[in-house]
């Protein structure tokens, strides 16, 4: 247990230090996210002024997250391909699951730094008022963890292919599709576009509440983190 913790910390510190010194992906992520927000803001000018703003804001936020997250995840194992670093990692006396967790935490941290820049930008660009900052942070962190958990697993899988990034994007986006429905729902509640509890009537009867959306994201994260942690060894095995 102690060895696993030491190994996890070592890999995590290595990844963060490498990123801070080489600045391989973080500046690209931030600029890509800002560009996505900027383009969506310009393109939706006619609708973003009034009631459309929360909808466009939530969409811009998640799209920027997904695509910038993909950049970070692809990078996290691409950087191990040079000089046989991946073999070195696998030769370390560590459970492959521990390597996965270290890479996952590194990706979550990168995406958190990204969020610190892009979320205020979205709030300003779309003139959004947030009902509850704590709840906003919770939703963003849960989304962050979900995006990173799937991405980190398949980042290791798509290395060595010619179309690495493209392949990773379709694999990750298709698996994340279900999470985006409650994730957008939660943001729409926080931005004031939807009431706290939505109870339809007649043939439109459906359940939707902020609590349910957060619970769903929590369950999604838990399932995919555990499944990826268990299956990571199979993916990297030579």
């Amino acid at each position: 247990m102690k060895d696993a913790w030491l190994g996890l910390r070592a890999i995590l510190i290595k990844d963060i230090v490498v990123e801070l010194r080489a600045k391989q992906v973080l500046p690209t992520m931030v600029i890509l996210g800002m560009l996505i927000v900027f383009i969506l803001r310009m393109a939706s000018e006619s609708a973003s002024a009034g009631a459309g703003a929360p909808v466009m804001g939530a969409a811009a936020l998640w799209i920027a997250f997904l695509f910038s997250g993909l950049l970070a995840q692809e990078r996290s194992f691409a950087s191990e391909q040079q000089n046989g670093c991946m073999d070195g990692l696998l030769l370390a006396p560590l459970d492959p699951g521990t390597i996965y967790l270290a890479k996952l935490v590194a990706n979550v941290i990168l995406l958190m730094i990204f969020e610190a820049v892009v979320v205020p930008l979205v709030l300003m660009a779309f003139h959004l008022h947030v009902a509850g900052w704590g709840r906003l942070v919770t939703v963003l962190l849960l989304g962050n963890l979900g995006i990173s958990s799937v991405g980190t697993l398949f980042s290791a899988a798509v290395q060595l292919t010619r179309t690495r990034g493209a392949l990773l994007s379709i694999v990750v986006l298709v698996l994340l599709m279900p999470m985006m429905i409650p994730a957008s729902f939660a943001l729409l509640v926080l931005f004031g576009a939807l009431p706290e509890d939505v109870i339809g009537s007649g043939s439109f009867a459906f359940v939707g509440s902020f609590q349910a959306a957060v619970a769903y994201m929590l369950a999604f994260d838990a399932i995919f983190c555990v499944a990826s942690w268990l299956l990571f060894g199979v993916v990297v095995e030579e």
Binding site: V150, L153, F154, A157, V158, L160, T161, R162, T163, L167, I170, V171, V174, L175, M177, P178, M179, I181, P182, F185, G200, S203, F204, A205, F206, V207, G208, A212, A213, Y216, A219, F220, I223, F224, A227, S228, L231, V234, V235, E237, E238
Partner: protein, 211 residues
């Protein structure tokens, strides 16, 4: 044996269609598409279960047959999911006047199709021998199966327009649907069998050619 299965499948499908069009017509006309739509939806899901079982089998035993069955089931499942969504869209247009709209079952069927498509692309693009791609596809097969119930639950956040179930009025209608189910299931079995055998033979040819 396989030819017999194919023949039987087509016979059942023809009989089902004939009963559906004569004795078992449903009113209004567009609802008759359920004789194709429902069996295909069941088979698309069943193929996914086969992919899951074969993927777990491959990870446990590393036997090539499991991998071939998983690929074959994904290919067959892709065809059924395509027919499922196509017939669904035709029905949706006739019944609700929209080609597609987000609603729990429609979202689930669409994502099912996307998952199959990504599985097949992943299968085509992974290099590095035979064992690593097979393992990665097996991992995707398992994770994708976890995704399907999650999709269905998450779609509860969207209003539903899909009618829960059709009530079948006469024994003829039930018979047509059941024959259609049996025919499509047999077709799925024979397609998976055929494709798995083809993959096995191509692997064997490749190995003989190399040595």
């Amino acid at each position: 044996m396989r030819r017999l299965l194919f023949a039987l499948a087509f016979l059942l499908l023809i009989v089902s269609t004939w009963i559906g069009l004569t004795q078992g017509q449903i009113d209004p006309l567009q609802r008759n598409i359920l004789y194709v739509h429902v069996p295909n939806s069941v088979c698309a899901l069943l193929c996914f279960v086969v992919v899951l079982i074969a993927s777990i089998g491959y990870l446990v035993t590393a036997g090539q047959t499991w991998d071939q069955v998983a690929t074959a089931a994904a290919e067959a499942g892709f065809v059924f999911a395509t027919i499922l969504n196509a017939t669904g869209m035709i029905f949706s247009r006739a019944e609700w006047n929209v080609w597609w709209t987000p609603s729990p079952r429609l979202v689930t069927s669409a994502i099912l199709w996307f998952l199959y498509a990504v599985y097949l692309i992943l299968r085509l693009s992974l290099p590095g021998g035979r064992r690593r791609p097979a393992r990665i596809c097996a991992v995707f097969g398992i994770v994708a199966f976890l995704d399907v119930p999650l999709v269905y639950i998450s779609a509860r956040f969207i209003p539903d327009i899909h009618r829960p179930n059709f009530s079948l009025d006469s024994a003829w209608q039930t018979a047509a649907l059941m024959l259609g189910m049996a025919g499509t299931a047999l077709l799925a079995t024979s397609l998976i069998w055929l494709r798995a055998n083809l993959l096995r033979d191509s692997l064997r040819l490749e190995q003989e050619f190399l040595h």
